[in-house]
Symmetry: none
Subunit: 205 residues, 4 copies
DNA sequence: AATGAATGAGTATTCATTCAT
DNA sequence: CATGAATGAATACTCATTCAT
């Protein structure tokens, strides 16, 4: 009675709540998730949520903001720090990262953005600035490095790094909807990267 | 005063309502769209909606069912009726169709499916059976025809027609979210098709 | 096509509707019965109902008014016309009538009156004037006849003919609610009449 | 401004609400009573009602369940604890109880059961098991005690305790409907009990 | 800080009633 | 007369948010 087994630290609370919210959103979507449900999952009272997030919407934004940035940052950073060539990086860390996406929190966030994005322009802007834009820039930079190093020709792909990201987004959505009739998303990703690398490395196209 | 209160158009109503609903869903998403808003757009009373659709959910399903099938059917049919070679078909009608997707009702339906799909398994199944599965089969068949005609080698693409569809889905989502920072989706589509055709037509991969 | 099998006569309509309404009310009660349901049972359109009854409430009143009066009238009339003694009448036609009540339309009307009466004071008044009051008077008159004829003593029952009616109302309600655990209502009625007749005919109470 | 918006009385709430509902149902009947009206009478918000009762129907059932059982229990218990003879009990506590019925909450519940019972079979069953069946058993037992003590003969009444309850039900309904032209229900009850006691105590029937 | 009882605006749905045909 | 498509006011119920404790 006098000794709580766990002493929750205030600093952890926001993230604990954010994770509970993510789990709930993943199952029901944003609109269909009750604030009370999030509270229950986080093991706190409904009222406490409002101490950390002014509204349900704020909570939603915190989820979207908090769970993606770190991962994108990590990937972007590793481009520079890894001593790998561009091709090695694409076939290694990049493909690995992309393959884990469909099962990761990012998949949930992507779904949330698609579903709720149009109602939250500021969030979309935030997402564009901090995730998409930076992600695409990082890839562009990587490809440039490959060109400078003589690994790649300069092709349309340099201007359309989307071609590399595309299978990730597609896989996330496909798996989200059609789990049962699953697509071999790993192979899809490999194939697309193969195609692009072949294209960039040579041939006469 | 001069306008009759009743219009009595039983046959047209369902589609009129369905179209109004699509427009509303496109702007706000399913959950955030008020039934009354749909009624207003359709120019009818709230009550009338319930004469044609038992619930808001039924209305949603009617939207998803009614607006995509015809278009997919038309495309699938044209594969057989057009006298074009496989490559000509891909570069012509197929690419044309895909390029119009991002601005078409199908884009809205795709978004709705992503957002609401997990809550409506029957709808997802319906969508899989009638749209995705049939679409992929049609493309597979087209590629086979190309192989038989000596146009194409047999490659991974034969087993992964998703590679051809991918830019469509990606474009739809990208444009939906980031209209402002728009991607040149036409070019993305062209490039992907170019890459795949080059791959299938020759080279040593 | 040109020859309808039945040619409905306008004069029958109100009663056809009234009967359909009674059947519907019997199953669901007044509030839970939809006007459309009555129309369906009567085999006419919803709109036509409003040609005969201004509102649903009017229809209800017509049911209550139309289906009971004739039966009470018939019973009251038979008191005078039958050549029976008071006791013979009570043991004969009266008990017969009372025994049929629980399964008759009157049972339904009684339930409707109990349920809806407090909201329709005019109807209650009508019912009092035309059914209850007249019924009680008729019985009172019958008992007086018995007294005058030397059949009965003058007792409290002369002032409380309710004692004779009581088992009818009780049986109707009991059967309505507890069909399964049924009471032998016939026996209840017989017993009560026996008791009262014994009381009125003699003894020293 | 000086009154606190919240009162926080979790334990009292259900009964407060139940009593407010009873009052409302008494005036308008179940179907015609608005949930908001109950809330207003209870001095709480509409939403709070749903914290304690899942639906309006549950509220109704709580009313029916909660307000009758205690009174029936008290009466049944007093049969055993009072040192009275059977006749004394009938003429004393029993008649007193029955005479208060027409003005008590039970009268309202009886009306509700008649009006809404057919739509709530479980409630009827509950009512049968806990009120009617137990009540009749208690009376039967009382009469048996009277027989064993030599107070009464064994008569039809032993098998039909309904004869004793009948005036209660009749009075409730009569007073409910025809307040104005009121019947002297007390006298009706006394008379019926007199009749039955005279019958059971002797005579040659 | 933390709770959860309480609020009330908001929403889907129903249904008696009307009226163009 | 007759129909049934159309109306819209009415109502049960939900849920994000507040605040006394």
């Amino acid at each position: 009675m006098s000794e709580p087994r766990f002493r929750r630290r205030k600093e952890d609370r926001p993230q604990e709540i954010t994770e509970a919210a993510l789990a709930a959103f993943a199952e029901k979507g944003y609109a269909a998730t009750r604030v009370e449900e999030v509270a229950k999952r986080a093991g706190v009272s409904k009222g406490l949520l409002y101490l950390y997030f002014k509204t349900k919407e704020e909570m939603f934004k915190a989820v979207v903001r908090g769970l993606v940035i770190p991962r994108i940052d990590a990937l972007a950073a590793s481009i520079d720090t890894s001593g790998l060539s561009a091709e090695e990086f694409l076939r290694g860390p990049f493909v690995d990262f992309v393959k884990t996406l469909p099962g990761s929190p990012i998949a949930v966030v992507i779904r949330l953005m698609i579903a709720e994005g149009p109602k939250h322009p500021d969030l979309v802007q935030f997402y564009w600035d901090n995730v998409v834009s930076r992600g695409l820039s990082a890839i562009t930079e990587l490809l440039e490095r490959g060109v400078r190093a003589g690994e790649f020709r300069r092709t349309t792909v340099n201007e359309m790094p989307h071609l590399l990201v595309m299978p990730a987004v597609f896989s996330v959505i496909f798996r989200l909807l059609f789990e049962k009739q699953a697509l071999d998303t790993d192979r899809l990703i490999d194939t697309q990267v193969d195609l692009l690398l072949a294209h960039m490395k040579g041939g006469n196209s």
